[in-house]
């Protein structure tokens, strides 16, 4: 049973992630009053990309993207989707915090081998944005761990199933608001779509990827989308008892994020970091102080 869960869970995340990518293009098209591609368009793209014969810059170029993809796949095993959670007793939130950084590091490794200045600019922006949202994210996670007295994310879901959602729990409201404010930065949608800016730096770290590398990068993007939304749903919206309700909650959150994506332009990287270190940090700091006072 355990082995089946380990195999099924990343596959399910992959399918849902690719479905979200296609859904995002379709919904953005309908917002723009045009028809848009079919929802299975990312699948067609990935099939075509795997059949192309691309140019590789060296060994580290090949290995970097595989490292990033492996990090994302492993992270899926620690996140509960409903009642499927293969590695539930193995460290929970602390492991998630560490493994979440493998994705940008893998892409940075492969981008160092590619001799393109656009790639270097894109990678520096990616790491700066990661620095930007890690500070309020850390404060929010510490607040939740303090409130529920546990680091296991499965425990947190179970407590929320028994009592109420963490977002509606009054002491945790400020942390919830702070997390909602930094959610677009974690997902990489506008106004924080700084990493992949096709008009400015020719799509950043993916500028030298062609063929199979771009297919792997698309899959990694789908998985990172899934991870960002799944973490929010598990921590603040209560998780779910079965996978179907879980995916329904993820869908609602994703569509709301897409609406923000359609309406706003892109910030510069220093404006983004200034914003992320100001209001969300202050709000999450206030939430943490409230939780510490209540615990005492």
């Amino acid at each position: 049973m355990h082995v089946v869960e380990i195999i099924v869970s990343p596959l399910l995340a992959l399918i849902i992630g690719i479905f979200f990518l296609g859904l995002s293009r379709k919904i953005m098209a309908r917002i723009h009053w045009r028809y848009g591609p079919p929802i299975t368009q990312p699948v067609i793209d990935v099939i075509r990309l795997f059949s192309q014969k691309a140019f590789s810059h060296g060994m580290m170029f090949n290995l970097g993207i595989i490292l990033s993809l492996a990090g994302s796949f492993v992270l899926i095993l620690f996140l509960p989707m409903g009642n499927i959670c293969p590695l539930s007793n193995s460290g929970g939130m602390l492991v998630i915090l560490y493994v979440m950084l493998l994705a940008p590091l893998g892409i940075a490794l492969s981008g160092g081998e590619a001799a393109n200045p656009n790639v270097s600019i894109g990678i520096s922006r990616k790491l700066i944005i990661a620095l930007g949202y890690e500070v309020p994210l850390l404060l929010v996670l510490l607040t939740i761990m303090t409130r529920y007295h546990t680091i296991s994310i499965v425990e947190i879901v179970r407590i929320q199933q028994n009592t109420t959602w963490a977002l509606l729990d009054l002491p945790l409201l400020l942390s919830g608001i702070a997390y909602i404010l930094i959610l677009p930065a974690i997902l990489g949608v506008r106004p924080f779509e700084i990493v992949q800016a096709p008009q400015e730096i020719s799509s950043g770290p993916m500028a030298e990827y062609g063929g199979p590398f771009l297919a792997l990068a698309t899959i990694q993007h789908a998985l990172s989308l899934f991870i960002g939304i799944a973490l929010f749903v598990n921590l603040f919206l209560g998780g779910a008892g079965n996978p179907f309700t879980f995916f329904l909650k993820m869908l609602v959150v994703f569509i709301l994020v897409l609406f923000i994506n359609a309406a706003l332009p892109r910030l510069r990287v220093e404006q983004a970091v200034k914003y992320l270190w100001r209001w969300p940090t202050l709000i999450s700091l206030a939430g943490m102080i409230i939780i510490l006072i209540i615990r005492r």
């Binding site: 059949s51 500028a207 990827y209």
Partner: protein, 185 residues
């Protein structure tokens, strides 16, 4: 539309993949580039055909050469074309790549693009309307179905002749040959 036919997808998924996801390099060649932004925005939507512009030639497989090609632009076009991963398709858009068009006796434009890089299809007009891009894309689909869109294979096979033409126009080129040229007899 045969995009929904499951049997075709199961038999030849690679060919269907090449047909329905043509990503075009956003290379703005000449005056014809004014016809491309209306095509990719909301009025004549090219994304429902699977055609979107991408930023780098490494991610693309369609090269749309719009408008006249001066001698300096041809250098950039050859370098961009050689960076694209195979299989790749080229479409000459407008009358100027076909036979020189309006600039047929100019001292600085090339008259036939087919001598320097292989071209799969032409669209005549000065400028063609945006619907002509859609006609070209649908025609390119039928060509891909019949395996007749083989510009990249011809480039590989006749690379000696293409490189000789390019060197006759420019003198020596700064970049090395893409495929190894055999010893001349």
């Amino acid at each position: 539309m045969d995009r929904n036919q499951l049997t075709k997808w199961l038999k030849t998924p690679v060919k269907m993949g090449h047909k329905y996801s043509l990503h075009a390099v956003y290379f703005c060649t000449g005056c014809g580039i004014i016809e491309v932004p209306p095509v990719i925005t909301a009025r004549w939507d090219a994304e429902r055909f699977g055609v979107i512009p991408v930023a780098t030639p490494r991610q693309a497989n369609l090269f749309l050469i719009t408008g006249y090609v001066s001698v300096k632009t041809l250098k950039a076009i050859i370098r961009t074309y050689e960076q694209m991963p195979e299989p790749k398709f080229t479409v000459g858009f407008g009358s100027c790549p076909v036979n020189g068009g309006m600039y047929w006796d100019s001292y600085n434009t090339i008259k036939h693009l087919d001598k320097y890089i292989p071209v799969d299809g032409w669209i005549a007009g000065c400028m063609p309307r945006p619907e002509a891009i859609f006609v070209a894309v649908v025609h390119l689909w039928t060509l891909i179905d019949k395996d007749m869109a083989d510009g990249y294979k011809r480039y590989r096979k006749d690379y000696k002749a293409y490189r000789a033409n390019q060197e006759q126009l420019f003198g020596t080129l700064e970049w090395p040959p893409l495929f190894p040229i055999g010893e001349s007899k």
